[in-house]
Symmetry: C2
Subunit: 533 residues, 2 copies
Amino acid sequence: MANTTERRSFWGWGLAADEPTQADRDKLAGQLAERYGVEVNAGPTPTIDEIDLRPTRLTPPDSIAAFCSTDTWDRAEHTYGQAYPDRYKAFNRQFDNPPDVVAFPSSDDELAAAMDWCSEVGAVTIPFGAGSSVVEGTNVPDDRPTVTIDLRRLDQVLEIDETSRAARIQGGALGPAIEGQLRPHGFTLRHFPQSFEWSTLGGWIATRSGGHYATNHTHIDDFVESTRMLTPAGWWESRRLPGSGAGPSPDRMVIGSEGTLGIISEAWMRIQRRPSYRASAGMTFPTWEGGCEAVREIVQTKTWPANLRILDPGQAQADAGLDGTETLLIIGYESAELAQGDNIHTAVEIARGHGGLIDDEAIQVSGGDAKPTGRGGAVGAWRDAFIGIDMNTPVSLGLISDTFETAITWDQWPEFDAVVRDRMTKVLDEVCGGGRLSCRFTHVYTDGPAPYYTFVGMGSQGSELTQWNEIKQAANEVLIDAGGTVTHHHSVGRMHRPGYDRQRPDLFAEAYLAAKRAVDPQGLLNPGVLFDT
Amino acid sequence: MANTTERRSFWGWGLAADEPTQADRDKLAGQLAERYGVEVNAGPTPTIDEIDLRPTRLTPPDSIAAFCSTDTWDRAEHTYGQAYPDRYKAFNRQFDNPPDVVAFPSSDDELAAAMDWCSEVGAVTIPFGAGSSVVEGTNVPDDRPTVTIDLRRLDQVLEIDETSRAARIQGGALGPAIEGQLRPHGFTLRHFPQSFEWSTLGGWIATRSGGHYATNHTHIDDFVESTRMLTPAGWWESRRLPGSGAGPSPDRMVIGSEGTLGIISEAWMRIQRRPSYRASAGMTFPTWEGGCEAVREIVQTKTWPANLRILDPGQAQADAGLDGTETLLIIGYESAELAQGDNIHTAVEIARGHGGLIDDEAIQVSGGDAKPTGRGGAVGAWRDAFIGIDMNTPVSLGLISDTFETAITWDQWPEFDAVVRDRMTKVLDEVCGGGRLSCRFTHVYTDGPAPYYTFVGMGSQGSELTQWNEIKQAANEVLIDAGGTVTHHHSVGRMHRPGYDRQRPDLFAEAYLAAKRAVDPQGLLNPGVLFDT
């Protein structure tokens, strides 16, 4: 299947052509060696001829063979997502449990034929968008014969309803493909997760992806008008409606199903006119607590800023070059129709009441006939950092770097933060002999923030996976112990199961599993995700 | 149980003390006789000694007897909701299928004891909030022994978290009780369905009630932070979280469950500071189409007005005394923190662009230090009409008056409206020899409106139920045929089943039914609602 699109890396993030060079890696190795005072070995990146896969145990029948692959590259590429253990194992040439077959259907009929064959031969069936799961959501779960169904050929915006501001989009469309097809019509989906380039509409819906908007409509959930999903028992398709109160929402059972019920082949999505009015401010605070209180007051006034992201001093230093003592708050408003100057000034005044600092002339306002005002500053630096991350190199050099994210009500904040920091700092000390932990809010609600923690520590060569696992388990536990959710938008997958199993109501688990069995009686779809079977 | 609260009417809306007098009814009878040119007989309202109930078939054990009743009044009062057939039958002393026992638990333990007993004896179990279902959601479905569990004694706001703006509220709390307990703290839930006085938090959540806000967060769904529900298999309780992406939402399976999974005993709800800033405008349009286009443009600019309700000429005449040619649009903004003058002027300008008329001095703005500006006019008249409806008298005089509501994407509007009016006008002609049909939008989304139709026709004495049924079935059919939802916020109950069964995805029905069976294996909870069993 490799010749149908530009080949993706089989071991790392992005295209093979964009893999880091040895020079890039040597340079970072030198920096890390200096920073941590340890030897860092930038051994060569994997090549496909080094990869030895278990022979495939399935032979697709003639009826579907034309869009199925048992090629080594394809199977290796679909063995892992982008979780830390995935990247570690892939870099270290460990592909112990690859799928047997990768199917690339390019129509609903081909998709149905592939799933029918899986049901017929009892093959585990893994829905695959673009493989950027950070929770082991697309990995082969056990030693049963497995087919991964990759939706990359279902990548079209099929219909645009300009009057209702909605579009019918296929499940396998990547972020840039969606935006590219909407842009000529003046529209945008405006769903920009950090994985934007390598994640798909179907993946976003299946995992309750968190997107562009920091307030009000934060998850993809709120933009779904209807869904079309193929299950082993057939098609599950909801009616296109702007709102409904007819029983429990059929879409809300699909949203967050993480591939356990079926494969989302398309959805009608609410889209937006491309914004032309913008207003933003990057404000610093002498204290993290003051900044958080500003965020709470701003979100509770319900002017619904598109951006309301606060970075603690460590995060602000790493992402925006601040001095390591200041907290940074980025506030942004946008609209296709209305000037946003009043909104930004209101929010800035609230933030100033909590110690927030910004010069009036640094507040940026643009759009309409008015001349743009204000200058960039911290906002621009932050934006560049957000999309410019190298996902491939650090893990290959022994750095243990990962994130965990949650949500918690305001009454538990900042105590929740103190508990998390205390526990995780101790764990980093124990496991890595120290490390860094920082926090930002990715999304904010009237009743609480969604804090996102980043940790970094240096691993010991050969022990990194064990070390990572200790840290990750501690994170899972502290989030649940302290009252949060085990994930706000990265989804459950296989990695968050221990915390998730404690968090969800037991009877809900039983009820949803019964629902799954109704449409997937053999339990073939993505076992291990959400449930053991 | 009657002496524990002021007694409610056993046959009509509200308290027994508020039942219409014979003089009121004679007056309306005279008006109807004149309007329709028929004889209208205002026969006397029912008295409890006229009601003859089937003997009860269940005897509550001593352990729960103290909060259970087999009293005639209690059983009659719980036989019906407030649907047209309910009111018709109750007025006509037809109580063929009453519950055998009504339980009034006042704690979670009593609630569990009541449900356990139902499971033990295999009694059909009907959750009952305040009995204002208009879709036969609380009626006894068949001839099996039946226990109705009335939550009126679980009526407390248990906790207020002022920091997060959330409150823990019991499922049986009526609208006024909730507001009464929040008001001293400066908060409000701001959920004001037309049934506000006689509906409960648990009922709102179970039925996906549509509330105060015409845009953005329209259903109760969006205000639910967590739920606590008792099922026959035990408690289902979700974690209190401002947002989460951990698997499919457990709450969204409860929201809209209509009593088929369990009884919602309490929920953490997002609450609001009481608004102090308000801005509103009542605008007239020479055409219904122009007004609807104005609504679309206003909602798509996302300033999220709390009110954005448009009334067609017939509705505007009935509710606000306009002349029957003009369309009326009510726009309202509100906030606890920010002045809303700019928002209302923006919306008014958009509406003027579509032919909307209002004098500048009629735009009302109030709050803060500024002197209130503007005068009332059409807005005040409309508000009085909304809450002043006499639910009891018309049906007792032979008038067939009811509503149906839906939602549809903008691309189908106004063709959808034309199809509905054409079909329903013909049906009213055939069935009642004419009648009136009018429309308003109760809620509006960026991708479409939620139209709400009211119909009125004069029935033939003794045939009213058959006539109503013909009209209602036609409404169900035309909504589904034309692409809408069978209900936007009245819920499915038993009445909307024919349309609902066509509307929902078949596999979703199978999956949700399997989920129900996991927590209600005997199928005792509210059978007939959503599903046959």
